[in-house]
């Protein structure tokens, strides 16, 4: 069984923004995409996803439109705004810094004074 990780709010926002970089998507699509891209590791809880989407929309980082799906169902589709793109860049560089730092902590260069 694949172990699943619960996402922190800030991380989820970042991942949602990142996911929308490849084009507009509805909520279900975003959840599926995150799951697929993370090899089923990241399971996005709807109780976190929808609040995150509505929060990002309120911050004007994403915008939403109603479209009609192929099954003639009304679906709400989100897309990245210019402000969202800018925010994503900021988050990304922060993320890179952080992951490099964590990687450094986890795999320190072989130290001379190891006992």
């Amino acid at each position: 069984m694949v172990s699943r990780i619960e996402l922190l709010q800030g991380t989820l926002d970042f991942i949602v923004l990142q996911t929308l970089r490849w084009g507009p998507r509805h909520g279900y699509g975003i959840a599926q995409q995150i799951r697929a891209n993370s090899n089923e590791t990241l399971q996005v809880d709807t109780g976190s996803l929808y609040p995150a989407l509505h929060r990002l929309e309120r911050k004007k980082w994403i915008s939403a439109d109603w479209e009609v799906s192929e099954n003639r169902q009304r679906v709400r589709v989100y897309k990245l705004t210019a402000a969202g793109r800018k925010q994503l860049a900021v988050e990304r560089s922060k993320w890179e810094l952080l992951s490099a730092a964590i990687a450094g902590v986890m795999n320190p260069p072989v130290a001379e004074s190891e006992t």
Binding site: H26, G27, T46, G47, S69, Q73, R76
Partner: protein
């Protein structure tokens, strides 16, 4: 905004439903595409999706403005849930209505009297320059000669004015009428920034030393006496027998000094050589001058004023006192004490309501658990419960306004006359309503916070299973704590009330030096226009006295110029021909009395004799000393036959021979000035000493009061139909008036503390009877195992004692710290009087045990069979 808001909100809700629906449908479709059956796919999708309600709830929270929606929801729910338990709602909101109502009333009083600005233009710049000195009491006044200089000096004040009030008689239109007349210097109205409603203000040229010949009427007098006739301007009014021209009418809003009916133009002519008096002064600060700087300037100014003859001026402290402070001076502290006391009552009421809420919450554990399971967060539950409390306090506050109106009416009727200055401004106004609204919210938080936090905590432990025994330990401790707090607060109030009541009793027990039983008194002022010589007034006095003595049932009648229970008086130095030297500040009340006065008053002649009809104008000049004066000059009691005078170097004819010594008399228990020298009215030649006269009539014990009072009134009417005088009053009533304030204060505090006691009793009863309901099982087991009902009752009473004792200990400590605010009002008793403390603590224990008697009896009757169920 609201309709638009709710419409938009409803649309967004529908959208969110669609969005979630679409998500769910897509998930199902994907699963079916992967080969699952529709049913399996739907089940799996639903599991995966989780709690739809919760998802919607947390998503909505991101929208902003959600609190408003929540509040509406909570409100609707609160109303519904309160309706379901009407008894609880009625009891709790009535308790709150009382608590909030009396506090609202108190605020209306405090706001009307203390906080509201004075009704004068820029009233913050009005100050009273005054000299404070202990010998002259708290009256804010300054020497007239210094005032005369201040009038010419403009370095501190833009302008200053002085005034004086007296009681005069208006005649000529119907019955003679006593009016309150204020003589005011020419800048008086402009200092206060007042304009007349009709006519004009006084001209500088109209002002004289004794009140000129023109008058300005108050709105009230104008309406009452002149039917609001505008043509009154230029007309005349007979004041003290002299016709004066009406030049103006003031608007109703102008009432300074309070209760003035007419103003007269006045000029202060001070001659420091002959007669120096203290007069009240008001001044408007010079524009741009800060009050602090003005203070310093006035202190410096006063210290440079010349010191001439007259009363000793050493030890006087010059200060500028804000006019408002002077006007509300005496009443400030009692009002603040009452406010504090009444705040305590509300706190106790809150504790009771909190206890009720805790009980209610206990029965709602399952509901709370259910709500938590359905996705309500802890904060959400707290908010919900607080909203419920807010609805409760709002209902209480709405009813409380009615309580406040009733309380105010009662208060204004019961408060002794003149105790509350500016009483006309006491009403329920927007400020008061705002205060009540604020108080409502605070009360809701105070009452509801503990139960709400507690309930939301319990939800985790509470089980949905119906038969589960509830966990009550924590809650019981909380409830005991609340009741302990109530006991402590009630104890503080009771101690304060107990001290005031005891002090009042001691005040009443003081021997005033005369016998007030079976005696009536009436005071008359003889107008100078018709009684311009001493002989006229002496003749009037003698004629009235002769008739009074002839009333059937009258034992004796007498007259005095400055009655001990009345207002005013003159004190001066007294010198003995051969007596010991007395300190220069030693002042003695100088009184003139008729021969029958001592008998009519029941004053005891200790040595020598009382005055007789032979002590006439032509006879030898005589005096009677009060006990303490005689002892001061001739210790050992040999004053008879000695000679005294009121000036240091008297003319030979000014010496008075002491013919008697009487016991000391004082008008009120708290006053210390009992020293007096009496001379016969018949030998009093200075008209000023004869203007006011009080007749004292003592009836035989067997005679009825009313006929004597009626006869007295008739005799005065017949003696001078143009004389206005107050109702003939019994001396007991007059003494009652002098103690009206302490009596009112002790009764107020007693009422508050009894209310507090009642509430605390209800609290104890509630906690104990609830505890017993919770422990029926345990009690029945005990009884089944052989405990006698008596033992069970004893156990309950022991528990009550344990509940109450910590509260009493805390309360005694708090009382010890707080009752000193009463110090100023206590007479012959200390603020930490151990007897009062012990007595009050005892009362509380007894009352608490009485409150738990019923629950205890019920506990003793528990059926042991219950143990089996």
């Amino acid at each position: 905004m609201s309709r638009w808001f709710w419409k938009k909100r409803a649309q967004r809700d529908l959208d969110l439903n669609d969005e979630i629906r679409a998500h769910f449908d897509m998930a199902v479709r994907d699963r079916m595409a992967r080969g699952e059956s529709q049913r399996d796919a739907e089940d799996a999708a639903r599991r995966e999706f989780g709690n739809v309600g919760h998802v919607k709830e947390v998503t909505r929270e991101m929208w902003g403005g959600v609190w408003l929606e929540r509040f509406r929801q909570d409100l609707r729910f609160a109303v519904r849930s309160l309706r379901r338990s009407p008894t609880f709602t009625i009891v709790a909101s009535l308790t709150l209505a009382l608590g909030i109502g009396v506090n609202t009333a108190m605020f209306a009083v405090v706001h009307g009297v203390l906080l509201r600005p004075l009704p004068f233009v820029d009233s913050g710049r009005l100050f009273v320059p005054s000299y404070k000195a202990n010998a002259f009491g708290p009256a804010a006044a300054m020497f007239d000669d210094h005032y005369a200089r201040l009038e010419r000096d403009t370095s501190i004040f833009d302008r200053v004015a002085s005034y004086g009030t007296s009681s005069l008689t208006v005649t000529g239109l119907g019955d003679p009428l006593r009016v309150s007349a204020t003589r005011a210097t020419s800048q008086f109205f402009s200092v206060l920034g007042a304009r007349p409603a009709l006519g004009r203000l006084f001209d500088e040229s109209e002002a004289t030393k004794d009140g000129g010949t023109s008058v300005i009427l108050s709105d009230a007098l104008w309406r009452r006496r002149f039917n609001a006739d505008r043509s009154v301007i230029g007309g005349s009014v007979v004041l003290e027998g002299v016709s004066r021209t009406v030049v103006g009418v003031m608007p109703a809003s102008f009432d300074f000094p309070a209760g003035t009916d007419v103003w007269q133009p006045w000029r202060v002519i001070a001659d420091p050589k002959t007669n120096v008096s203290f007069i009240p002064v008001i001044g408007r600060l010079k524009p741009g001058l800060s009050p602090q700087l003005a203070q310093q300037m006035f202190a410096a100014y006063a210290s440079h004023l010349p010191v001439v003859d007259g009363p000793p001026r050493a030890g006087l402290v010059a200060a500028l006192i804000p006019l408002k402070t002077v006007m509300v001076g005496d009443v400030r502290t009692p009002l603040l004490i009452f406010s504090g006391a009444i705040g305590f009552v509300l706190l106790i009421a809150c504790a009771n309501v909190a206890n009720l809420l805790l009980m209610r919450v206990a029965s709602r554990d399952r509901e709370m658990a259910m709500r938590a399971a359905l996705g309500a967060g802890r904060w959400r539950l707290i908010r919900q419960l607080l909203t419920e409390t807010l609805v409760l306090t709002s209902v209480g506050a709405a009813a409380g306004i009615g309580v406040a109106l009733a309380t105010l009416r009662l208060l204004l009727v019961l408060a002794p006359q003149n105790m509350l200055p500016r009483a006309d401004g006491i009403r329920i106004d927007p400020w008061t309503v705002a205060f009540t609204a604020g108080l409502t919210i605070v009360t809701a938080i105070v009452c509801g916070a503990i139960p709400a936090m507690h309930a939301s905590e319990q939800r985790l432990r509470a089980s949905l299973a119906a038969g589960a025994r509830t966990v009550t330990g924590g809650r019981e401790r909380l409830r005991s704590l609340l009741v302990g707090g109530e006991i402590a607060l009630a104890l503080v109030l009771l101690t304060g009330a107990g001290l005031l009541v005891r002090s009042f009793e001691r005040m009443r027990a003081v021997d005033l030096g005369f016998d007030s039983r079976n005696a009536l008194a009436v005071t008359v002022d003889l107008p100078s226009a018709r009684y311009n010589s001493a002989a006229d007034m002496r003749e009037f006095d003698a004629r009235v006295l002769a008739n009074l003595n002839a009333i059937p049932g009258v034992e004796s009648a007498g007259a005095i110029n400055w009655f001990p229970l009345g207002k005013g008086g003159i004190s001066g130095n007294l010198f003995a021909e051969d007596g010991r030297e007395v300190p220069s500040g030693y002042n003695v009340n100088a009184l003139s009395v008729s021969p029958g006065y001592f008998r009519a008053m029941g004053i005891h002649v200790e040595r020598g004799r009382a005055f007789t009809d032979d002590d006439r104008t032509t006879g030898a000049r005589v005096a009677i000393l009060s006990h303490s004066v005689a002892e001061k000059f001739w210790p050992g009691g040999n004053a008879i036959g000695k000679r005294v005078a009121s000036s240091e170097k008297p003319d030979p004819s000014d010496w008075l021979t002491v013919v008697g010594v009487v016991n000391d008399v004082k008008g009120r228990a708290t006053s210390s000035r009992a020293a007096a020298d009496y001379v016969p009215l018949a030998q009093t030649n200075f008209p000023f000493f004869l203007r006011r006269v009080t007749f004292v009539v003592r009836r035989h014990e067997a005679a009825a009061t009313t006929p004597v009072a009626v006869a007295t009134t008739r005799i005065l009417r017949e003696a001078d139909p143009n004389l206005a005088f107050e109702t003939v009053a019994s001396m007991t009533d007059l003494i009652g008036r002098t103690t009206a304030e302490p009596r009112f204060q002790s009764r107020m505090l007693l009422t508050f503390s009894l209310a507090a006691l009642l509430l605390a009793m209800i609290g104890v009863y509630g906690v104990m009877s609830y505890a017993i309901t919770q422990r029926r099982q345990e009690i029945s087991v005990r009884i089944a195992l052989g405990a006698a009902p008596g033992e069970i009752i004893a156990m309950v009473l022991r528990r009550t004692t344990m509940l109450v004792v910590p509260g009493i200990v805390v309360g005694l400590g708090a009382s010890y710290a707080l009752t000193r605010v009463l110090n100023r009002f206590l007479f012959q008793i200390t603020a930490t009087d151990p007897t009062t403390f012990a007595f009050v603590a005892g009362i509380l224990v007894v009352v608490a045990l009485a409150a738990s008697a019923m629950p205890a009896r019920r506990a003793g009757k528990v059926d042991p069979v219950e143990a089996l169920r």
